[in-house]
Assembly symmetry: C3
Homo-oligomer: 155 residues x 3
């Protein structure tokens, strides 16, 4: 019987696993950033979350929105919208036997672009920093989708 | 040693890879649609995005919401909420050795339903067009989940 | 030639498939919960959705937001933000040859924590019930990411 570990002996797959784990961990950091700003700025979405900051009507004043919190939430949602396609298309692309150096170039560009996108969104840096980071990640995913469909289309 | 390419010699897996790549690319198109409406209608969420449209207070008037932009964003979020379960459950279902024609029927129905859902949401078509598209995609994913758990439950 | 079914003969992978299918089905239930509250409370986001409840201006009064609906939607988005990293990191972790009992402990804790998170969010239970559920799921995913990168880092 063949061991499953052969998947992890495949260099493209190992590289995909490493870069994906890094970019998903980065995305998870956005939850911590949201929690940080909610607690330090006392901005909450649920009555039960601000019960510790006062009784009754006094607590309700913390049920509000805040520019900083909304900015982190938009960055988080943009991550979701872009990392989910990378996860699906990248996994299938990695299994389709691409050239190692081409694959790693795709993964590095994507992860670098998404990290820069977060920095540009949270600082915030002036445009077109964030737009550029977005389009590099978007282009990398489309490039993998194109290569995958070109060599493996089966409808 | 066994080559990884055997995965891509499996017809169910190749079909899953093709349909998933198409539906994820369709989801990515929603980002472009949002950007298109934001730019043509001058509706932005971040001060740095409308800096090019005027100085100071003059630019701030573009920090607003718009029915059309919000509609695209809801369609995008609905895609995420439904394509993520399809991605996970469909991948595992594809690896569980299903019948090829049954599997392809599932994939085709799902991708067709999600494309129709987007058309129904963005046009917009009267209900129950969108509701029907939603429930077909939802039912397909649940059907794959049921088949997967029935043959491979291991808790 | 080696059959694909070997993947499903791997106990860790079968366990991952089962727990993932359960937690993704749970996430899909949130769509039904949103639809339930929207219909019973007559709270809609799209004009075409409330066309059946009245004509013209009479229908527009149902285009509103509702605390209960917004709560379900926040719970759903939190699911997405946390289940997507579990899906990606958990899949790669399962393929990296972990110890079976350690892997199952991770999966059980995550799925249990996310189910409890939903109960705590929708009831709602007083804090720190929801926060605790969130951090258990978060910690489990980070633990899998750490184990994966420690044994398979390839950049």
């Amino acid at each position: 019987m063949v061991s499953l570990s052969q998947l992890m002996e495949n260099e493209v797959f190992m590289a995909f696993a490493s870069y994906t784990t890094i970019v998903l961990s980065k995305m998870m950091f956005m939850s911590t950033a949201t929690a940080f700003y909610r607690l330090t700025r006392k901005v909450f979405a649920n009555p039960e979350d601000c019960a510790g900051f006062g009784k009754g009507e006094n607590a309700k004043k913390y049920l509000r929105t805040d520019d900083r919190v909304e900015r982190v939430r938009r960055a988080h949602l943009n991550d979701l919208e872009n990392i989910v396609p990378f996860l699906g298309i990248g996994l299938l692309y990695s299994l389709s036997g691409p050239d190692l150096s081409t694959a790693i170039l795709h993964f590095r560009l994507f992860v670098g672009a998404r990290i820069y996108h977060t920095i540009a969104y949270l600082t915030p840096l002036p445009q077109p920093n964030r737009a550029l980071a977005f389009f590099i990640g978007y282009g990398v995913t489309l490039s993998m989708a194109y290569r995958l469909l070109k060599s493996n289309l089966y409808l």
